[in-house]
Symmetry: C2
Subunit: 385 residues, 2 copies
């Protein structure tokens, strides 16, 4: 197996990008990554796209459009969907192809454009990513499903709604330092507690926004990276896992099995333990999710995730910096782009260009991205070189 | 690299499957393939799904639903989209993962369910797979785009509309022998010539139908296949390629660049030439497409594809059997399933269970499947063992 590296990264702003087409923003992010890596487009052998609702902007089969825009229309491309975890799964497939030696240099681009369709369309279509037979058609959309997890957590552990609010406050603090964040705005616990109830106990500011956006990285073999020159970061661990699709199929509502499976595989491959991780971009689609994630990833014991937030141990440059980018909560959540955007953040952090939100002395970063309520999950570990 | 084999295959009927959900038919085909291979579901390490319009049946993120139905919800899954070429691209990704040793046994399942949405929805949404900026929004849908190719072919070469009709007649002859075909019905050249004009010179019977359906194969390492026992077929060649997304970007309308690129790579890898191929399942979404395909794949020289059809040289058990299954034209075209369905046909042929449509003494079969007007393409070559 070849060692695999990230050689460059780029992103559009996350937010409302209604004036550009989905093909435009896919191309913008890809060109930014290619230019950042300093590679000639002709060195890029294939494109791994991730996208869920291309239909929203009337462009499915985005790959060939991107390749044509890049002037390399002869090259293969594909789109990968795994709901909100699409980006990390596409990254994983690209990783596997470079590791196996099928390609030495790829572009991996995640994209979503939905805000122009409005909240009703988006909530309805996103619910198609749940187990529609058991959940979606019964009227459950994601705020309700995560609210069930939050309620279970409040019942089982020593936690309060204010604890969840603190996750939002922390991530908005970080996102305020991120020029590309969708919700670049500081908030207080009071703001969260007094925001409208969406699905009790979750309030508006417990939920990430619907965002448009595209993120892209250049993935290559270590040999390619060394010969080419420039800053690169090594992919040292990669793991995937699954959970029962519907919440009703799970033994517990306060843990996500796929996270543990994916993380165990990634830690084992990287030869590290959770204690070695300096910072992590985790899937905080709702505040409760981040709490559960940090426990399932092994950073804290079950039930102690809220205590860690309360004590500021997950804030920027504390015990472990969780979501230095602002996370899905503040940076935004263009669902097909999110997993790739997490890798962009890790690349920026480990190559020393994260500006005011820099995690000091960081050497190992982790990305954690799941689909739906965690029915699918991928975890990747990165090391600076 | 591990040698990769197909160990079992299964399919639903193709046609109007409005009474079953997309999750149901995905599961039916997958279970059929797993039972055919005689493997325990627990031996299946991951699922590679291909699907384009899950939104039509309100179930995106189908993988975890399938895995839950199979009782292996802890395993990873993903969906791959490359328009009408999704199935072969998903097969290719699964192939790459087994070849590289990441998994020893996978299920690859393609699925589409759209007929319940009606012709207008389907035509409109399918057009999102074109280059929407240059084609779709200008009012071009696929019948019109392929009609442009047909018109160019009639202009450049010694061909008639009756020649195109003969492709349809031949494929319906084959499909009549296929119990799972959507349009299991013999037709004549007159039937085609007198069917309603869809986009001149293409008439209704020059076009494949909109179909629902799911097809599935079990892909494994040679080592797994040998230890496990049972009939298997070797994947000896795999190639992918791209073309400019919009027709206007192409130098010629009577050839599809991605087919040549993908075929060249697959032939080279398998160490064979087009002459060695006994039968091929090719992408005949419209009759003109099959003519162009058989030339681009190297079976006939440019302009001679129609002559070959006229002389019956592509009929079952002639010089080269093209689309013994009935092809997209008669077997049907559930777009996410088609590429996998082609592999099911090859497996059935090379393991001697294709019944009345058996290609005699066949040892090497080829599948050719593209997306949109050939903006993306994958070619695979299979050998009996």
């Amino acid at each position: 197996m070849e060692k695999v590296c990230v050689l460059g990264a780029g992103s559009t702003k996350y937010g409302n990008l209604a004036n550009d087409s989905i093909a435009d923003i896919t191309t913008q992010a890809s060109v930014a990554a290619i230019e950042d890596a300093g590679v000639d487009p002709k060195e890029v052998k294939a494109a791994y796209i991730s996208n869920v609702f291309g239909v929203a902007d009337k462009q499915v089969h985005i790959g060939p459009v991107l390749m044509s825009n890049l002037g390399i229309s002869d090259r293969p491309s594909l789109s990968i969907e795994s709901a909100c975890g699409s980006g990390s799964v596409s990254f994983r497939e690209a990783y596997a192809n470079v590791a196996a030696g099928f390609y030495d240099c790829l572009v991996v681009t995640g994209v979503e454009k939905v805000t122009h369709t409005g909240t009703e369309w988006t909530t309805t279509y996103f619910a198609y990513c749940s187990d529609f037979f058991y959940e979606g058609q019964a009227g459950a959309s994601f705020p309700g499903l995560f609210a069930s997890m939050a309620r279970a957590y409040l019942t089982e552990f020593d936690a309060t709604e204010e604890d969840f609010a603190r996750v939002a406050v922390k991530n908005h603090e970080n996102g305020f330092l991120n020029p590309k964040a969708h919700l670049k705005k500081r908030i207080t616990v009071d703001d969260v507690m007094h925001s409208p109830v969406i699905a009790s106990p979750l309030k508006l500011f417990d939920c990430c926004p619907f965002s448009d956006g595209a993120s892209s990285v250049i993935l290559c073999s270590e040999k390619f990276a060394k010969e080419h020159g420039g800053d690169y970061v090594e992919v040292s661990g990669s793991g995937r896992g699954g959970s029962p699709a519907a919440l009703q199929g799970r033994e517990h509502l306060t843990t996500i099995p796929s996270t543990k499976i994916a993380a165990d595989a990634a830690y084992k491959m990287a030869g590290i333990t959770p204690k070695d991780v300096d910072f992590a971009e985790v899937h905080d689609c709702f505040t409760i999710a981040e709490v559960v994630d940090t426990e399932d990833l092994g950073f804290f014991r079950k039930g102690e995730g809220v205590q860690a937030v309360r004590e500021g141990r997950t804030s920027l440059n504390s015990e472990i910096s969780i979501n230095p980018s602002g996370g899905l909560k503040s940076k935004g959540h263009p669902i097909g782009a999110t997993g790739v955007g997490q890798v962009v953040e890790v690349y920026d952090q480990l190559t020393g260009r994260a500006g005011e939100r820099t995690v000091k002395d960081a050497h190992i970063g982790l990305t954690h991205n799941f689909g739906a309520t965690g029915a699918s999950c991928a975890v990747h570990i990165f090391q600076g070189v």
